[in-house]
Amino acid sequence: MIQIQINRQLGNFRVSAQFESQTRGVVALFGQSGSGKTSIVNMIAGLLTPDSGRIKIDGRVLFDSDHKINLKIHERRIGYVFQESRLFPHLSIRSNLNYGRKRAPKNARQIDFEEVISVLGIGHLMDQKPRTLSGGERQRVALGRALLANPDILLMDEPLASLDAARKSEILPFIEMVRDRFNVPIIYVSHSMDEIIRLADTLVLVNDGEIAAVGPVEELTSRIDLRRLTGRYDAGSVIAATVEKHDEEYGLTHLTFNDKNIRVPRVQAPVGITARVRIRARDVSLALDKPDNVSQLNVFSGKISEIGERRNNDDGTESHDIDICVDIGVPLWVRITRWSLDQMQLVEGKEVYALIKSTSIDRQSLGQQTQHMEKTL
């Protein structure tokens, strides 16, 4: 259990955050740049001291202003992966990896050195210096270094932000593996919804120094009242579905949720696991009659449960799109023009069919929930 309640004045910006979350899997802190995400993790790490409040992780109090408890940074047993790798330039990769490990209490050294190296694929770098490594390699070493300190919790502050798109997709699977292989809870700071949908189980929305909402990723990303915070352009629904089977011939993966079947492009995920599918509102179309001869593979019937309000674009002009929520067993958001809304005479409660193009669900829209896989080593 992560229990956080912190206040800190920073110039004329105030961080006043309070949330609780299970420590299983990945807890993502999401918000705009400057919303206070980094300040929050820095306070958990002890790099920044709250003016008042309480920080408790799995029953261990790290900070409590009422009881004058403020554990020193090196006593907190947190692993921190920074935006920049912050490897020690004068030490070899091996010494960098061992830096935290040899300082961890002997009885806490449960994470196996060789296993971390093999999972992160950094065995061949051992005797090199950080300056000869690529950005992606450095970040993998930084991840290993934090992990090998055998922390109670791993903090990751936008660990992919300094990498280009290609490097990002190279590192993401490693973070997924760390999440699934080593039983260490992770607090992951990001302003990229793609990363969060792929990695996180719990979402903490940070806005202007405060916590706007806390809950499962699927739930919060589907809520229209949080749309402003979760991102408008890519707005949509996130559905948790089980991998049913792979269709090798057509390169498709069948997923099921609530007895419904959805087909998406082939993903590298074992049958039986729960995956997270994000369906962007702009990729869904609506029909009043059951369409038979259409190219969309995924057709769901449902009732309109909510019609969103007219709203303004980011630049202040009025938007002519409207978001509609269709209940297909789970809430599914659809973005259509106001013209269609009027033409189809859509009202709440009306029966409609939602059509989703499989190809619109790309690799980046799919994530796996935390699984604790059996170790194969």
Partner: protein, 232 residues
């Protein structure tokens, strides 16, 4: 060793001994001072900084005279040290080491401070999160990354000590075998008729020692650079 006259050997030996001792006491102190100047903020820091730099801007004779007044047998520091520990500084090689160290001090502090300020404090924060206490962070991260500055400071300071003249001759005078270092020997020879040849030999010795020190520092600095690199 018939390249050098016994007198020259004596002067070379004294110069090296005094410089080494001057460095031994001033280096750790300079490291601490540089750390305070680079990392701490306190009222009066400007004044502190100014006092540290005084030997750089004052005529060396002034420093020598102040030392003579305070650390001489009748000076309040000198009297205390003599009474309590039985150590005298005036007119001894120890006094020369004190004078040389003081004159070199600001140079060493400057070099170390520059290097210390260039150390990325985010690396220190990372070390703290990995479980290192502040002392351990200093020894394993800050100090190794400051090493190039410490070496440069050491070389500069050593060279300054070897060349120290004004404060030394004022404080400890020109005593053969005790305080007559190379520069003082050179000055002495230049003051007597027919001393040109002996003076010239000391000039050559000084140039050779200086060149050797420079070459040594260059090699060390390169090795450090290769070790630390510039990547993060």
């Amino acid at each position: 060793m018939d390249i050098f006259t016994p007198l020259e050997i004596e002067a070379i030996w004294l110069s090296l001994k005094i410089s080494v001792w001057a460095m031994l006491w001033s280096m750790p102190l300079a490291l601490g001072t540089a750390w305070i100047l680079a990392r701490c903020d306190f009222p009066g820091k400007f004044l502190f900084d100014g006092i540290i730099h005084l030997p750089l801007v004052l005529p060396p004779v002034v420093i020598g005279y102040v030392l003579l007044v305070t650390m001489g047998r009748q000076g309040f520091i000198g009297k205390f040290l003599n009474d309590v520990f039985g150590i005298t500084f005036a007119f001894s090689w120890r006094g020369a080491a004190v004078a040389a160290g003081i004159m070199a001090f600001p140079l060493i502090v400057r070099a170390i401070r520059l290097s210390l300020e260039a150390v990325d404090q985010r690396l220190e924060a990372a070390a703290r999160t990995l479980g290192a206490n502040p002392v351990s962070v200093f020894l394993t991260v800050t100090l190794p990354l400051t090493l190039p500055g410490i070496i440069v400071g050491g070389i500069l300071g050593f060279a300054r000590c070897l060349g120290e003249f004004g404060a030394t001759i004022t404080f400890v005078s020109n005593i053969p075998g005790e305080t007559r270092t190379l520069p003082i020997a050179l000055y002495a020879f230049s003051q007597v008729p027919g001393g040109e040849e002996a003076a010239f030999r000391i000039v050559v010795i000084s140039v050779v020692i200086a060149l050797l020190a420079l070459a040594g520092s260059e090699i060390l600095a390169r090795r450090m650079q290769a070790r630390i690199g510039n990547g993060s």
